[in-house]
């Protein structure tokens, strides 16, 4: 089972929840950081890194001697990564989305695969918890290509070790966030009961609902703000799987890089219950109805 921990608004406690869940998981589990722009899961899991590699994507490279400047590549490219003028062909590798169209369409086979560095993928272990993370190169504008590579490695790792994975997704509701959650089995939406939290939570709910995956909410800093989030969840039939109280002691522990499930028996129990609720949510709907009958 792959659990994606997402949120519309940043800073609602996504990483806190992902790290805590990974720590109390009762079986082989992999903590995966797909927030490649600002990866933070390592700051809480403190993994021992076993290996890392640079991730690249395929971008066009031209053999000018073969090019007849016919312009077919430039006409096809929707991102203007290839441009042809009279007797000059220009490549802008940073513009490339990696569709491979230019290579496929070139009648002279003058375009071959080159590489653009996307960032780094690293993996390791934090005690019983496996760890995998992507880190976007500074200046690289596109995060989905690196995320796709991290997810490919996740599939490989799960094929070997089995078990479950918990994904720390990027904030927001646009393409990087959707990319992070679309291959998961369950989506956990972490929010806080403030006006900003509720507004962004609604956006996230709208963005992820079309994916047709089971979703549940975790309300962090419960007691802060107002009750609009509870009304929204009730209206949409979205289960609230856990609540974490608004407590300065939790904020201080977080600021010291601590996993909050380890703070008190009460918080640990909250996450153990959350884990069981997630498992229940991930079951096919028929058996869930049966269990509740």
């Amino acid at each position: 089972m792959i659990v994606a921990v997402a949120s519309g608004k940043g800073g609602t406690g996504k990483t806190t929840v992902a790290a805590s869940l990974a720590t109390i998981w009762d079986g082989p589990v992999l903590g995966v950081d797909l927030d490649v722009e600002e990866p933070n899961l390592n700051l809480f899991l403190h993994p021992v890194i076993a290996g890392s590699e640079m991730a690249h994507m395929t971008v066009p490279m031209v053999e000018e001697a073969k090019c007849t400047y016919c312009g077919a590549c430039s006409e096809l490219c929707q991102f203007k990564a290839v441009s042809v003028f009279n007797q000059v062909i220009l490549i802008f590798p940073e513009m490339c989305h990696g569709c491979g169209g230019c290579m496929a369409i070139c009648p002279e086979k003058a375009i071959s695969p080159g590489q653009r560095e996307l960032g780094e993928i690293s993996w390791g272990r934090a005690g019983d918890v496996g760890f995998l993370s992507g880190r976007l190169r500074i200046g690289e504008a596109m995060s989905p290509p690196l995320m796709r590579r991290v997810k490919a490695r996740l599939d490989q790792m799960l094929a070997v070790t089995g078990g479950d994975a918990i994904i720390d997704a990027p904030p927001g509701v646009s393409c990087p966030a959707v990319n992070a959650v679309m291959d998961s089995d369950v989506i956990l939406l972490v929010t806080e009961p403030t006006p900003f939290g509720v507004y962004d939570f609604k956006l996230a709910w709208e963005a992820f609902t079309p994916l047709g995956k089971p979703m549940g909410a975790v309300i962090n800093r419960a007691g802060l703000g107002n009750d609009a989030i509870y009304r929204f969840c009730r209206e949409k039939g979205l289960p609230i799987l856990a609540e974490i109280p608004y407590d300065r002691a939790i904020a201080e522990a977080y600021s010291r890089g601590r996993v909050i499930a380890a703070l008190s028996p009460g918080l640990e129990a909250t996450f153990v219950t959350l884990r069981d609720e997630i498992r229940d949510l991930a079951k096919p709907s028929r058996s869930r109805e049966a269990a509740h009958a």
Binding site: E38, N40, L76, Q78, I105, V173, C175, P176, P195, R248
Partner: protein, 292 residues
């Protein structure tokens, strides 16, 4: 004209709440919410929309069922896994479609349409603090960088037309496309951080991005009293890298209290928080060369 952008790297550090307060404190300005993915500034400013425009960006592939002979070439060429056979025929998953046109170009029966992609809306509104240029990307849509550029362009034109000295922008979290677009043309970036491992780490990444694009950066440490050691580390980092620290703001539920009322924190009765924030704004004005 000056352009100031409030950024954070990490989400949830208080960026938007502070931008709202600065919008209250700043004289003559156009306000611009560049966090088009999850915009929240409007919740504080309650804008009255005066203009609404549709935002289109790029294209998406759509297979015309009657024309498709089911050869599957499109699915084998698609690098994004966006085309699947669903039993009744081949279909494009719009969430995965990158809009690259490869399937359209190679389809032997010309069975794939390539319409423009409707990605969201943008608005020019009036608020109690002045004009606001803002947008809403449709949930799940892509390419917020382009929409960020559209908003900045509008805000600049509006500033020029109204003789405003300043465009004050709320940025997006992260360091990717929308943030890169936000930084373009900015005179000063103000990063709001918090004394947590994530806050410091993300500040370092966003600072590196500003260096990469040669944008001047200053820092505000929010919730500084959560962790004195981390605050000290952030201050050392800022000192070493020559980033002015504009303010240290306490961890205070006042910000949420204001938010729940649809107000900014400087509209509440005066507090240590609002006094410190007022001083931070004066420093920002000086750094950005405003009012000269």
């Amino acid at each position: 004209m000056r352009e100031i952008i409030i950024i954070s790297g990490k989400g949830g550090t208080g960026k938007t709440s502070l931008t709202g307060a600065f919008a209250h404190l700043a004289a003559d300005k156009i306000i611009c919410d560049l966090d088009v993915d999850a915009p929240d500034l409007h919740l504080l400013l309650q804008p009255a929309k005066e203009r609404q425009e549709e935002f289109y960006s790029g294209h998406e592939a759509v297979i015309i069922g009657e024309k498709c002979d089911g050869c599957g070439l499109c699915a084998s060429l698609c690098q994004f896994g966006a085309i699947k056979e669903n039993g009744a025929g081949f279909v494009v998953d719009p969430v995965r479609c990158e809009g690259c046109k490869v399937c359209v170009a190679f389809c032997p029966t010309a069975a794939i349409r390539f319409p423009e992609r409707h990605c969201g809306q943008w608005y020019v509104s009036s608020t109690r603090f002045g004009p606001l240029v803002h947008a809403q990307l449709f949930p799940g849509a892509e390419n917020s960088g382009r929409l960020v550029m559209v908003l900045k362009q509008q805000a600049r034109e509006l500033a020029k037309a109204r003789g405003a000295d300043l465009v004050l922008c709320d940025g997006a979290p992260g360091i990717g496309c929308p943030v890169i677009s936000s930084l373009s043309g900015a005179n000063l970036a103000v990063a709001v951080t918090e004394p947590t491992p994530s806050g410091r780490h993300d500040l370092e990444r966003v600072a590196a991005l500003c260096r990469h694009f040669q944008t001047a950066l200053a820092v505000i440490i929010n919730k500084y009293d959560l962790n004195g050691d981390e605050t000290a580390r952030i201050e050392v980092f800022c000192h070493d890298e020559n980033y002015p620290v504009l303010a240290r703001l306490p961890h205070d539920p006042l910000v949420t209290k204001a938010m729940v009322q649809g107000l900014v924190v400087t509209e509440l009765p005066e507090s240590d928080f609002s006094r410190e924030l007022g001083q931070a704004w004066s420093r920002i004005e000086a750094l950005a060369g405003l009012g000269r």
